[in-house]
Amino acid sequence: MKNKKFKKTKKIKKIKKTIKPKKEALSVKDLAKIYELDGVNVKALNGVTFSIPKNKLTIIMGHSGSGKSTLLHLIGCLDKPSRGKVFLGGVDTSKLTEDELARLRNKKIGFVFQFFNLHPLLTAIENVELPLTIANVSGIQRRKKAMELLRMVDLENRADHLPNQLSGGERQRVAIARSMINEPSIIMADEPTGNLDTKSSSEIMNTLTKLKKKTTIIVVTHDLEITEDADKIIKLRDGKLV
């Protein structure tokens, strides 16, 4: 009788382990990243564990060198951890191949970078379309969708402009539109206002905040001013959670 009860408990624990709670968009467990620099091990991230709620705005904060960008790269599957796991929509990303991670990024994640990272030879609309171009979506379909998104960020009149013909704020809005075109589960923004003036920064944060109705937003920043609308704040110092 005792053995049967023990076996049942063990089975339930195993099931609980594989099924992740649906309220989480993302969770990390004991995540660490260690770089070797001139023979010295540098712990950019030192064992962090947390979860990100769905359809909320989560801010990851910390001073320069705290490990916040490293953390974003790891949870965005742009880099591999030295230790720990990342669960994205219930999927253990440590078990995926490089190509599978690429497809995951294409389908599930939208990125907004500090320096915009728009393709310099593509127009605004072509930049917005890029994730769908990579996903082999037909030209007509993706053009239609891209135009809708540019309209949403008030840039439809600038669709045929190259990035070097746009202001900083406009470029960032194009990047936001690009991040949304594949209808991602999560949008990850790394210092999205870092290169913008106050007015543009405010516009960008407003846009991102509005998006949380549709998707989960994670913003990495050191700027206290943009944390007002955050649903959750994660603070990092020296690679650890505070």
Binding site: D79, N106, L130
Partner: protein
């Protein structure tokens, strides 16, 4: 990413880096143009020569003096005293399968007409020459030489029409080395090869020819003999003639002092020479293409480095390693393709110029006209395919390097 989009990306990148792209493409253009020009002129020349040879007749055998076949062949182009004799002539005439034998004596003479003097080839022969060359040499006007003819000439067509300021007609008086001759016949234009073309010969009787050649022996000697044999048996009868002459002249294969040439042998020698020349030229063209390929690889490596951040963006947005590799391979293939198209065009122009120049020069020196260039769809397909393949191969290593970049490292690159 669909091929259409990869192509658009590649075209975008190439046109943005205009000058550098063109400098890279030039290497391929030169290589492809060289190969196209060499192949088209080579094939055209080979075809023209083969046509000329086949028009001479596949049933004609050439008997030449000398110690080896090749030497005999070369000797026939540069008049020197030979040692084919009347005895040889009589022997050949009775070989089974032989229809006609025309002995020949060759020399260079000064011919004067209408106040002008030209140094031209003289061919002394008899009435059998016309019978030997029945299928190829026609008469435009007058008649050919006959037995007993003296101080009369039959002219090759070019001599009658182009060699002098005024055309020469039947009955015209000309001078050969100061001696008067009457024109009794003019051959039709043949367009034969240099040294073998009737268009530029003065035909006289054997008796007359001996006055102007360097022959001095008491015994009748001939420079060469043309033998017409029963068709379809050329090789067999050539062998019989060879065996009979070897017995008569008391020689064997090791010390043979004459040569037997059939059209098949001439064709083979010409082909071998042309192939050897072509091979050498292909080698040079291949080196040029190799340089072009290295140029593409260099440009692509530089491009990967310069576009590291762009590669990072593409990977961050979900492009797989294979997708990145294909992107760069399409770009390098496009460089090869554009180089191939332009190289093809320039190659055709070059081969056309060479063909025209060669035709003009060869026509002036007694060879007939016609195209010396051969351009077929096979050459076009080969040139384009080859240039694309060169482009792709050159781009493999740079493309691999691009595909292996880690997204986060690439994004950090400045």
């Amino acid at each position: 990413m669909k091929f259409k989009d990869s192509f658009k990306f590649a075209l975008n990148n190439l046109t943005t880096r205009g000058l550098r792209s063109w400098l890279t493409i030039i290497g391929i253009i030169i290589g492809v143009a060289a190969i196209v020009a060499i192949v088209s002129v080579g094939q055209g020349l080979q075809g023209t020569i083969q046509n000329q040879l086949s028009s001479l007749g596949s049933d004609i055998i050439y008997v030449l003096p000398g110690s080896s076949l090749e030497y005999s062949f070369m000797q026939s182009l540069a008049p020197e005293p030979g040692n084919l004799t009347e005895k040889d002539l009589k022997l050949i005439k009775i070989v089974e399968g032989v229809l006609y034998v025309a002995p020949e004596i060759v020399g260079m003479v000064d011919m004067e007409y209408s106040g002008n003097t030209k140094n031209l080839y003289l061919l002394g022969t008899d009435e059998n020459w016309k019978k030997v060359r029945e299928s190829s040499a026609g008469l435009e006007s007058g008649r050919f030489l006959m037995k007993g003819d003296k101080n009369v000439v039959v002219l090759g067509n070019k001599i009658a029409t182009d060699a002098f300021d005024k055309p020469i007609y039947i009955g015209s008086q000309i001078k050969i080395e100061g001696d008067s001759f009457r024109v009794i016949g003019i051959l039709e234009e043949f367009g034969g090869m240099a040294g073998m073309g009737e268009d530029s010969y003065i035909f006289v009787s054997l008796e007359d020819a001996k006055e102007y050649s360097s022959f001095g022996s008491n015994e009748e000697e001939y420079y060469a003999m043309e033998v017409r044999v029963e068709s379809e048996r050329t090789e067999e009868i050539a062998e019989k003639i060879k065996q009979q002459l070897m017995i008569s002249r008391h020689v064997n294969e090791e010390n043979i002092n004459f040569g037997i040439m059939t059209p098949k042998m001439i064709s083979s020698i010409v082909s071998n020479i042309l192939n050897a020349i072509n091979l050498f030229l292909y080698g040079i063209a291949a080196i040029s293409l190799l340089v072009g390929a290295v140029g593409i690889a260099n440009t692509m490596f530089t491009s990967v480095t310069e576009r590291t951040r762009q590669i990072g963006i593409l990977k961050a947005l979900g492009m797989t390693n294979k997708g990145v590799m294909n992107l760069f391979l399409v770009e390098s293939a496009l460089i090869g393709f554009v180089g191939g198209i332009l190289g093809l065009f320039i190659g055709f122009v070059i081969s056309g110029i060479i063909g025209q120049a060669a035709t003009f020069m060869l026509a002036t020196t007694m060879i007939g006209g016609g195209s010396l260039v051969s351009i077929g769809p096979g050459l076009v397909i080969f040139a384009l395919s080859f240039s694309v393949i060169v482009g792709v191969i050159s781009g493999i290593f740079p493309a691999r390097r691009a595909s292996r970049l880690q997204p986060v490292e690439a994004l950090r690159y400045e």
